[in-house]
Amino acid sequence: MPISKSEVKYTADLARIKLNDEELEILAIQLQKIVDFIDKLKALDISGIEPTSHVLPLHNVFRQDELTPSLKTEDTLKNAPSKEGNFFKVPKVID
């Protein structure tokens, strides 16, 4: 199943990554090759096999509902490219 440039563009939009035309073209070819390779999994019979999302026999991990120290607001904001007061600042969301 060939991957088109518009499919790459659609996926890149989902991933919130802007790509130029040249990048879209190269990626379509490269993704095609990779997808052809991973398609080999289709040859295996996997009926009745449980998926492994995690190798450890872990379920929910709980902790006591107690207050513990956490990062200070000013430390959290220290790396922000843009901030105002106690907030991260982003471009306008609603016009």
């Binding site: 890149a12 919130r16 802007k18 295996l44 471009p91």
Partner: protein
């Protein structure tokens, strides 16, 4: 002490208990970095360039030779270099990516806290493939690292800087991270020791995540003893990492006794068929013969789903990466493209400009395999095949104590050789990837050199939480050989 030996060339074990001062050691290493770093480029941030000459516990020195107070502990005064994806408080940590440029973590990773407690000196941040995406350390915003044994070759990756720094004697020990071979493959290419612990053995708190069901932090060292000492320090339960296993940590140095009589060693037949370089094969045969003389028994085993491992990995790892890397959006830290119209446009522009090519490729592949209509065909199917791969190991370990394979099918390749063909690069991890999918521990140790004087690595794989077995077998082999004494000519 052997006065003819430069201090920088010693292991932590050799340094500890010597009469020289830490200043002398640090000064020796600093001179070494000055002498060879231009050729190797192992560091993303060199130790001295970052005001880190004397680590975090020490007052800033007035001169290079002032008196210093060193915290006591098992790594007292030992310089340890840190891969650039492990958070060190207030020191730029960027995963070799433009999108994290300028990021100074407000906290230490758990492994860093433990190293500081053990008295280690933090010795620079090492270069890597961007976000650990790669097998060559060519995909770095800092430029490529070179293999100290041959500067035209890659050091492996993604922890290529960590392995090259140890091999070039620019540091004593490094920390790396391993998602599909990123500690073991560079350790093999550079002729040093590298260990990927069992999934859950070492806390990932403060490791910038790539693929959360696969990532582990581990040591890269000059010998097996230093590796065991490091594992004693960094292993153990940490409530800050919900995947950290609450399992007792033994003293790994107790496994360094050289006793491997009647050890049952498995040789997976699927690994020894095609694609293995002849010189790698010859080194393996020699290593097997050496272990036999020490009393190890070899048994052919089968890991029947081996050929599917790379395909499973590039679905699972990219899917998890696409999710983990969603956090780099220009809001909380790192790079933001300032000329954007609106929020979504800002996300797209920041990520489009901030990520390198391999990062974009993997995020988009991961998004693709998770997207509506493809989820069952790719992601869910890959998770099921992962179950089969894990079962292969469970079955094999019923009959054997450990498995031996080459770490990589070839020695280090040339810089640029695989850079334009992502799939070819991915296939170079064929012997290391299954280990991460199954969550088992493995170590790579030097087992020879090719005619071109490139190192070859031997991989030993054990059952979950049986790192003691890795140390037992690795130490027994290492004590019969002298590979680690062959240093690169720089």
């Amino acid at each position: 002490m052997d006065n003819k030996k430069d201090l920088f060339s010693l292991t932590a074990g050799e340094i500890t208990g010597q009469k020289h001062g830490t200043e002398e050691l640090v000064s020796s290493l600093a001179k070494r970095v000055e002498a060879v770093e231009k050729k190797v480029h192992a560091f993303a941030k060199k130790p001295q360039a970052r005001g880190q000459w004397f680590g975090f516990h020490w007052p800033k020195p007035q001169t290079e030779n002032c008196n210093l107070t060193i915290r006591s502990g098992p790594l007292s005064g030992i310089p340890v270099s840190i891969k650039d994806n492990i958070c060190v408080k207030d020191d730029e940590t960027t995963c070799a990516s433009k999108i994290l440029s300028g990021f100074k973590p407000p906290y230490d990773a758990e492994v860093i806290r433990r190293l500081k407690d053990a008295g280690a000196i933090l010795w620079g941040k090492t270069n890597m493939d961007e976000f650990a995406f790669g097998s060559s350390t060519e995909n770095s915003s800092y430029g490529p690292t070179r293999n100290p044994h041959n500067l035209e070759c890659v050091p492996g990756g993604s922890s290529g800087g960590s392995a090259a720094a140890v091999a070039a004697d620019e540091t004593i020990i490094s920390l790396g991270s391993d998602t599909g071979g990123s500690i073991r493959q560079p350790a093999a290419f550079c002729g040093v020791v590298g260990l990927k612990p069992t999934y859950g053995r070492v806390s990932r708190y403060g490791l910038i995540a790539f693929a959360s069901s696969l990532d582990q932090i581990g040591p890269i060292t000059k010998d097996v003893r230093d590796c065991a000492v490091m594992m004693n320090i960094i292993s153990g339960y940490d409530p800050k990492d919900s995947t950290s296993a609450n399992i007792e940590v033994p003293d790994f140095t107790k496994s360094l006794n050289g006793e491997i009589k009647n050890l049952r060693v498995g040789l997976p037949k699927e690994y020894f068929t095609h694609g293995m370089d002849n010189e790698v094969k010859a080194a393996m045969d020699e290593a097997i013969a050496t272990l036999k003389t020490k009393g190890a028994k070899f048994i052919e085993i089968s890991l029947p789903h081996t050929e599917y491992a790379v395909a499973v990995y590039y679905i699972v790892a990219t899917a998890e990466a696409s999710s983990n890397l969603a956090r780099f959006d220009g809001v909380q830290y790192g790079f933001r493209q300032m000329n954007s119209s609106g929020l979504i446009d800002m996300y797209k522009n920041s990520r489009g400009e901030g990520f390198g090519n391999e990062a974009k490729r993997r995020i988009i592949l991961g998004t693709y395999v998770l997207s509506s209509g493809y989820y069952d065909a790719y992601y869910l199917r890959a998770q099921k095949v992962r179950t089969l791969i894990k079962r292969d190991f469970d079955t094999a370990f019923k009959e054997i104590d450990c498995i031996i394979t080459p770490t990589s099918p070839t020695p280090a390749f040339k810089i640029g050789e695989k850079a334009t063909d992502p799939l070819k690069m991915y296939l170079s991890d064929i012997y290391t990837i299954s280990v991460n999918l199954a969550g088992v521990p493995a170590i790579s140790i030097p087992c020879g050199f090719t005619k071109e004087k490139l190192p070859v690595g031997l991989q030993i794989i054990a059952k979950p939480f049986d790192e003691e077995m890795l140390f037992k077998a690795a130490f027994a082999y290492e004590s019969q050989t002298n590979w680690r004494k062959i240093k690169p000519k720089l």
